[in-house]
Symmetry: C2
Subunit: 203 residues, 2 copies
DNA sequence: GTCTATATCCAGATAGAC
DNA sequence: GTCTATCTGGATATAGAC
C-alpha cells in the first residue's frame, strides 16, 4: 500500500537551496570580477563543487545569467512594493527616484545586467523579460497614481532616473554627487509637467 | 657622407597607417561581437595578419582598448568643435545634447567603452583619461558660454544628457523615441535654472 | 547528485627564425 | 616587421562512473 504523500517535497526544497547558493556565488564573483568575468569554474569553486556539477542545476552559463536577471528584477520589485507610499505626488516621485538610484548604486554589476546590454550575446529569455516588464509597469503605475501618466512625460521620467543612476554609478560610485540632486531633479520634472496654475513646491 | 634627412619619415607614416588599420578592425569586431568579445585573433585575421604581429604595434590587448578609448573621445571632441555654434543659449544646449546623444546612439559599443565601466579590469591610462577630460571640459565651457556654468546645475545637465543617451541606446537603439525628446528636456532644464523673470521660450 | 576525465576550443602572450 | 611554434592557462560543455 502506498504511503500518503508528504506535504513538503524535501528534495525540491534542497534543490532550490542549492540553486540559491549558486546564484549567490555568481553574484559575488560578478561583483568582484565584473559581469563578463563570471566563470563557472569560479562559481563551482566558491561553493565547493566541481564545474560539471552546476549543469545539474543550470543548462548553461546563459541560464545562470538569465536567473540572475530575474532575481535582480525581483529584488527591485520587492523594493518598490515594500515602500510606505506617501500621498503627495511630488513625494511619490522622489521616493521612486531614490529607490531606483540607490538600488542601482548598491550593486553596479546588477545594474549593468538589468539595464545595460553589456554581455556579448546575452539577451534575457522571454520569461525573464516578463519580470523586467513587471518592474517597468510598477513604476509606470506609481507615476500614474501620482498624476503623471502621459507617455512622453513618462519617457522623460525614465530618462531622468536613468541619467542620475548612470552618472552616479559611472562617475562617483562610492559617493552621493548625483544622489543628492534627486529632489531637485524631481522638482524640475514636476514643475515641467504640471500646468502652471496648479504648481506648488513640495516641502 | 650622410644624406640629408628626408622631411617625411615614410616608415613612421606606414606604422601609423597600420595602427589605424588595427584600430579600425578592432572597432568593427567590437560592433559585431560586443566590446568584451573583442579578441586579438579576430583583429589579426581581419587585416590579414597573425596575432603575434599585433604586438609589434601594441603592447597588450589593454593597450588596444586604451587607444580605442582615446580615438572615441577624439571623435566626440571633433564633433563638438566642428559645429556651427549658435548664439542663443537655449539653442546651444539643444545642439550639445543632440550631438552627444546622436554620437552615443551611432555606435553603442563606443558609447559603452567611453561612458560605462563595462570591461573587467580595464581603466583608461592617465593619458587616455586626459582626452576624456578634454571632452568634459569642452562641454562644460560650452554650457558656461550659454550662461549655465554652476556646478550643481552642470551635474544635472550631464545627468539629463546621459539619461537620454542611456535610454535611447538601451531601449530603442534603432529608433528616435528619446532623441525626439531632446528639445523638451532642454527646455525643462533651461526653465529650471533660469530665474523666472528672464525666462522666454525658444522657437 | 556529484564526481573524474576529457573534448574542444579560445584566450593573451613570448621566443626566436627569417 | 611578420612569421611559425609554443607556452600557459582558461573557458563551456559532455560522457559516463559511482
Amino acid at each position: 500500500m502506498l504511503e500518503a504523500a508528504p506535504t513538503r517535497d524535501r528534495r525540491a526544497e534542497r534543490r532550490e537551496a542549492v540553486i540559491a547558493e549558486i546564484l549567490e556565488a555568481a553574484w559575488a564573483i560578478a561583483r568582484a570580477e565584473g559581469l563578463a568575468g563570471l566563470s563557472l569554474r569560479d562559481v563551482a569553486a566558491r561553493i565547493g563543487m566541481r564545474p560539471p556539477s552546476l549543469y545539474w542545476y543550470f543548462d548553461s552559463k546563459r541560464a545562470i545569467y538569465d536567473a540572475m536577471f530575474v532575481q535582480g528584477n525581483q529584488q527591485l520589485l520587492a523594493r518598490l512594493t515594500e515602500q510606505q507610499w506617501p500621498d503627495d505626488p511630488r513625494s511619490i516621485l522622489r521616493l521612486i527616484a531614490r529607490v531606483f538610484v540607490e538600488f542601482s548604486v548598491e550593486d553596479i554589476q546588477r545594474y549593468q545586467l538589468l539595464f545595460q546590454r553589456t554581455i556579448p550575446n546575452f539577451e534575457p529569455s522571454a520569461e525573464a523579460f516578463a519580470v523586467a516588464m513587471e518592474v517597468y509597469e510598477q513604476m509606470r503605475v506609481r507615476c500614474a497614481a501620482a498624476g503623471f501618466g502621459g507617455h512622453a512625460a513618462f519617457d522623460i521620467w525614465t530618462a531622468l532616473v536613468s541619467g542620475l543612476s548612470a552618472q552616479q554609478t559611472a562617475n562617483d560610485p562610492t559617493g552621493d554627487r548625483w544622489l543628492r540632486l534627486i529632489d531637485e531633479v524631481v522638482d524640475m520634472y514636476v514643475d515641467h509637467v504640471t500646468p502652471t496654475r496648479q504648481r506648488r513646491k513640495g516641502s
